[in-house]
């Protein structure tokens, strides 16, 4: 039964959830796949020093 559920998932239309750079989603869309874009960026663009400072100063809620 569980196995059938998984097979159904693979037989259904592929919808890709893309987190981060939109370029990957756009590439899949050009190949005919549907995508859902999650607008996410690492805090402070990934700058560790700024992340540490913002841990103290807050303000991102």
């Amino acid at each position: 039964m569980d196995c059938e559920k998984i097979l159904n998932l693979f037989r259904s239309e592929l919808v890709v959830v893309n987190v981060g750079p939109k370029l990957f989603a756009e590439a899949l869309e050009k190949q005919g796949y549907r995508t859902v874009q999650v607008d996410w960026k690492p805090i402070a663009g990934g700058d560790r020093e700024m992340q540490a400072i913002l841990d103290v100063l807050g303000g991102l809620d």
Binding site: K41, I43, G45, M50, L54, L57, G58, G59
Partner: protein, 421 residues
């Protein structure tokens, strides 16, 4: 109280001032009589401070022109020698609550508009917009014609404007913005509606002015559809004077470029500048032969209007400016949405009809700019390296000055926490 709570409280206070303040244009007076710290040998310039040897050619011309205008030197060359020797003191205008747009500078005898915030008591200053003639000190030119214009402003136009605005009882700048909401001004680079609305309130008080050049002055005033920018800058300066006194606030209280560097000031650290390389304004060239190589980096204090939520912050309010500078309505909406994502408040006095009657976002929080990595946009006119206006458009504010500012507030916050135990 945690550091975050302390910073949040400080920012709430700054946002409160920005949204509740009531800037009113009340007077025009010689700079030396009203601007704190002004002396006979001071020249106020746009942007963060820059070593003398790095000052750009158009600002250099404006400084030297101002020094000759004041009688401090006979020639521009002599004036520059005085600057190099420190005999003429060149200081950032915003450190004196004054805003100098583009290449404009302010010296002792120049008439400046005085704005007063009637709620919190601050005062701000700005020189008078020179009008549509491109050959002016405001764009880094100085010769006999420019000197004649400067003298006319000092001896006739400035005093007459002062008499008129005093007789009027003062021009409430919020009322001008409110009455012209939905008329297509973004109020940094496009303000024909606000300028006309303001002129309607001032010209009746000029009609019986005793100066024999009255008609010429009214003609000049009525023909300047950019006039409102400068009293608005004075108005913003009158407000930022109050927010620059709030320790640990990460709200932006000043910003400007000097052609080489772009800088911001935070409410929590007053007149301290945080600078990085100035972005170049992207948009339309006024002459098709110009290229980006002809342009200086962002130059001028006029982006204090963005500090108050105007210009690029509320780009959707002025779609025609986007069209003129080669952009789109979608981009206008995006600029305002970006500003909203990193701002703490919204003005209520000038709702934008085609943006669901939402107000201008105001109170840029450096924490959100850096943390969300969303860079607000400033509109602006671009200056040519040789002097003159090269074009108009917009620039993304550089993140590095926001990062530097956060380092400083973080240091102050840790010291505060230690003191609190």
């Amino acid at each position: 109280m945690t550091i975050e709570q302390k910073v949040n409280a400080a920012n709430a206070q700054a946002a409160d001032i920005l949204t509740r303040a009531r800037p009113v244009w009340t007077d025009v007076q010689p700079a030396i009589d009203v601007i704190p710290g002004m002396t006979k040998t001071t020249v106020l310039v746009p942007g963060p401070p820059l070593p003398v040897e790095q000052i750009t050619p158009p600002i250099r011309t404006s400084i030297c022109g101002a020094a000759v205008h004041e009688g401090l030197a006979k020639t521009k060359e002599e004036a520059w020698t005085m600057v190099e020797r420190g005999e003429v003191s060149v200081e950032p205008a915003q450190n004196h609550q004054c805003g100098c747009a583009a290449c404009m500078v302010v010296s002792a005898s120049m008439p400046v508009m005085v704005a007063e915030d009637k709620v919190y008591g601050g005062k701000g200053y700005a020189p008078i917009h020179p009008g549509p003639n491109p050959k002016c000190l405001r764009w880094g030119f100085y010769d006999e014609d420019v000197e004649r214009d400067l003298s006319w402003f000092r001896d006739h136009f400035g005093p007459a404007l002062g008499r008129a605005v005093r007789k009027s009882g003062g021009i409430d700048l919020i009322t001008v913005l409110a009455k012209t909401a939905g008329m297509g001004d973004e109020n940094h680079n496009r303000q024909p509606a606000a300028s006309m609305c303001l002129a309607l309130q001032v010209i009746p008080w000029m009609l019986d002015d005793p100066d024999p050049q009255r008609d010429e002055m009214i003609r000049h005033f009525a023909a300047n559809d950019r006039f409102f920018l400068h009293p608005m800058m004075a108005g913003v300066e009158s407000i930022t004077e109050s927010i620059k006194k709030i320790p640990l606030s990460t709200v932006v209280a000043g910003m400007a470029g000097n052609g080489v560097e772009f800088g911001i000031q935070l409410a929590g650290t007053g007149n301290r500048w945080y600078t990085t390389k100035a972005p170049v304004i992207q948009g339309t060239f006024l002459n098709p032969s110009y290229t980006e190589a002809d342009l200086l980096g962002y130059l001028g204090d006029s982006c204090v209007t963005e500090v108050y939520g105007l210009g690029g912050m509320s780009a959707i309010a002025g779609p025609a400016y986007l069209r003129m500078t080669g952009s789109t309505i979608a981009e206008a909406r995006s600029r305002t949405e970006k500003a909203r994502a990193v701002s703490l408040a919204e003005h209520t006095f000038a709702p934008i009809p085609w943006d669901d009657f939402r107000g201008f976002p105001v109170g840029l929080d450096a924490r959100r700019v850096v943390g969300l990595n969303i860079l607000p946009i400033s509109h602006g006119g671009s200056a040519l390296k040789k002097g003159g206006q090269g074009g108009a458009g917009a620039a993304e504010l550089p993140v590095d000055c926001f990062k530097d500012a956060l380092r400083a507030i973080h240091k102050d916050a840790l010291a505060w926490a230690e003191q609190e135990g």
